[in-house]
């Protein structure tokens, strides 16, 4: 609760939008038993009604169920990707920034190799290895995202380790764990949370982009990018259906970017 109060105006708006999206995805799973893959060819592009609040798509599938499933997929994947990449990036960054020497050189070498390729190309490469595999997408996105954490964390750690408050703690006889807890971690927390919000946005966009160029997940999976490309041919017949996944991605990205904004 204390953290929420520390957020500034735009961050609170971002958090509120994100909470609504998470709430929708979760409640839809809890309350609406409809299978997102069940077709009803007699009821194509039904307008929103009481039974189908978001209408139906080109195969008569419930858009409510599909949007819920797609949001759950995007949110969960971004959460897992952020957790993985943050853990790896922070751990390696602290290690490299603190110990320097050969650990720093090796990790920085790997980092430069990853950086040599544009992020999306690397993810495409992984996706191409095993088309339609969620695991490969997860690995690819995490591999691209950890780089940012590593660079920021390494720079902050180096500065903290060389700072005079930490020098003072060292002289007072404190060990490495204490110095990490008191000096390095407090300095890392805010930038890492900011990076996490940006990272989540990046992984959602990557998943949607891969779906959109049809190298990501395969139909009939409900995925935001895939839904966009499938519904695209019908944009004049049923623009409100196409608008739904577009609007959902827009809301997700803007919520996360607002959340990542400057702290007070």
């Amino acid at each position: 609760m204390r953290r929420v109060k520390q957020l500034n105006g735009s961050q609170q708006i971002g958090a509120a939008i994100l909470a609504c999206l998470v709430g929708f995805a979760f409640l839809e799973w809890l309350l609406n038993g409809t299978d997102p893959a069940v077709q009803n060819l007699g009821n194509l592009f039904a307008a929103p009604s009481l039974a189908e609040p978001l209408g139906t798509d080109q195969f008569g599938r419930s858009m409510l169920a599909r949007m819920g499933a797609a949001l759950r997929l995007s949110l969960l994947l971004s959460l897992v990707c952020v957790l993985t990449s943050a853990t790896i990036g922070v751990a390696l960054g602290v290690l490299a920034g603190w110990r320097e020497g050969w650990i720093d050189r090796i990790v920085s070498f790997v980092l430069n190799m990853v950086l040599a390729l544009p992020g999306l190309v690397l993810i495409l490469l992984f996706a191409g290895l095993a088309p339609g595999s969620l695991l490969m997408l997860y690995l690819g996105i995490s591999l691209v995202l950890w780089v940012e954490y590593f660079r920021v964390v390494r720079a902050i750690t180096r500065a903290s380790v060389a700072s005079s408050p930490m020098q003072a703690s060292r002289m007072l006889g404190f060990g490495s764990f204490y110095c990490f807890k008191r000096h390095v971690w407090p300095a890392l927390l805010t930038p890492v949370l900011t990076l996490a919000a940006f990272g989540a946005a990046a992984s959602i966009l990557a998943l949607a982009a891969l779906g959109f160029v049809a190298v990501g997940l395969r139909p009939p999976t409900a995925e935001l990018g895939l839904m966009m490309v499938e519904l695209f041919p019908y944009y004049s017949e049923a623009p409100w259906v196409l608008a739904q996944p577009v609007f959902a991605v827009f809301l997700l990205i803007i919520a996360l970017n607002l959340l990542a904004g400057k702290t007070k």
Partner: protein, 468 residues
């Protein structure tokens, strides 16, 4: 005699609270006025109010007349027209007012070109003449980053006065300067005051004395007393003025009490130390023995390697040659350091109580030792409940001393421990440090750019060579 600068009942308010109480003064040609007082006395606000540069929540009341014109009747543009031509300001930190990417001479020549509308070649000649006048003739081609603090301040002085302004406002112009350079700036201001008017703000009694003219003593936004420099500093009537005068290290009581013939154990010994930085040898073949409970002072101008020597003795910095030997059988945490900026000694993310508890827990100390120690340093135990940035600099420095003394150290390296503090606080902290360290039988290596401070507080002094 026409008044160049006239303030009538000038006061500065923020919302309902009055920061500077109504003040009236008149500065005519050939007059020098110095406002003396500690930080937080509202001195700098006064200068900002005269220039019309008060930050938004603050408001000015009363009248300011510059060369006879009431600045309230002038538009923003007309006000700015006075700048440079009639009034100019010498800022506190020269680095913030100089262009870091422009050569020294050009910075002055530009003023002649833009303010005085002179031709570039003429402007250059005049700039060169100005720089020679303040002893910077050789430094015209250097960038501000290649100048020392004193040189940068002289350059800023040239740039500020090149516009031909009769009125110069100087805000703590000698802050952070060594004594010789401080005197030079004071002499420049005094000279400027003879053919114009100078309003100086300082906390340094010696600077006020050297500039001469009239002195106004301010405290907490209120005028304490005013008068002629000589008579006021010679025989102050207000207790606060006396306190300020006493706070200058020259007037401190001498606390030498060490008998040199008493043999004491050695806590630290340095042999043949040498250190080179930036191609300059700071010191070489330096031998130093520090005995138990002894207070050793190191003096020298800034950049002469005083702090580096202390860091080498503590093992925080490698020496190029030589070695440092500690007394055998003494735990490493008994060799500690006090920082110039007390904030540098504390983790900002935790409360003071937590930081003290951490030390107590780590070394299994008795928590009951803390209150008497704080009392000895004249600190209230309630301070520990605050966060690091919620206590004043003087209190934080004393808390740093308290935390160090908890560990019963044998050696403390105090790196300019009071140079960031107000003079009255500085006096209190410096005298307490040496007194309490002696009571705890802890040796202190006191580094300071102020030879008087070291002379008054230390048992013996080591002077490091002058730079350049």
């Amino acid at each position: 005699m026409t008044a160049l600068l006239q303030l009538e009942n000038l006061s500065i308010v923020a919302g309902d609270s009055v920061l500077v109480e109504p003040i009236s003064l008149t500065l005519a040609k050939g007059q020098r006025l110095t406002i003396l007082g500690e930080t937080g006395a509202g001195k700098s606000l006064l200068i900002q109010a005269i220039m019309g540069l008060l930050p938004p929540p603050l408001r000015r009341q009363g009248t300011v007349r510059i060369v006879g014109q009431d600045i309230d009747t002038l538009s923003r543009k007309d006000q700015q027209r006075l700048w440079g031509h009639h009034i100019s300001m010498l800022p506190q930190e020269p680095w913030y007012s100089l262009d870091p990417l422009m050569r020294s001479q050009q910075q002055v020549a530009e003023v002649y070109e833009c303010v005085q509308q002179e031709r570039p070649d003429q402007a250059n000649v005049k700039a060169q003449r100005d720089l020679v006048g303040v002893g910077l003739g050789e430094a015209g081609h250097r960038l501000p980053g290649q100048l020392s603090g004193g040189m940068a301040q002289r350059l800023a002085f040239c740039a500020a006065t090149a516009g031909g302004a009769e009125i110069v406002l100087a805000d703590e112009p000698t802050k952070g300067l060594d004594i010789s350079r401080r005197d030079y700036i004071a002499a420049l201001l005094r000279q400027k005051g003879e053919d114009g008017a100078v309003l100086t703000i300082t906390h340094d009694v010696e600077v006020a004395r050297q500039i001469g003219g009239t002195i106004m003593v301010m405290r907490n936004g209120r005028l304490v007393e005013q008068g002629n420099a000589e008579s006021l500093l010679g025989a102050p009537s207000a207790g606060y003025t006396q306190e300020l005068i006493n706070a200058a290290p020259e007037s401190w009581p001498s606390v030498r009490r060490h008998q040199p013939n008493v043999s004491r154990a050695t806590v630290l010994e340095a042999q043949g130390l040498e250190k080179t930085r930036g191609g300059k040898t700071l010191f070489k073949e330096l031998d130093l023995v520090i005995n138990q409970g002894e207070i050793v002072g190191i003096t020298g101008d800034s950049g002469c390697g005083k702090s580096s020597l202390g860091d080498i003795l503590l093992g925080l910095l490698p020496a190029d040659k030589g070695r440092v030997v500690r007394a055998p059988g003494v735990a490493p945490y008994k060799y500690l350091k006090l920082y110039q900026d007390p904030l540098a000694a504390f983790a900002s993310a935790a409360s003071l109580k937590q930081l003290f508890d951490d030390v107590i827990r780590l070394h299994g100390l008795d928590a009951r030792k803390v209150p008497p120690l704080l009392e000895q340093l004249r600190l209230s135990p309630a301070l520990l409940d605050r966060a690091v940035h919620e206590v004043s600099g003087g209190e934080l420095q004393r808390l740093a001393i308290a935390r160090a003394l908890l560990l019963e150290p044998v050696f403390l390296f105090a790196d300019e421990p009071v140079s960031r503090l107000d003079p009255i606080t500085a006096r209190e902290v410096a005298l307490l440090l040496t007194q309490v360290a002696t009571e705890h039988n802890c040796a202190v290596l006191l580094v300071s750019h102020d030879p008087y401070l070291v002379e008054k507080t230390c048992d013996r002094t080591l002077a490091l060579g002058a730079p350049e």
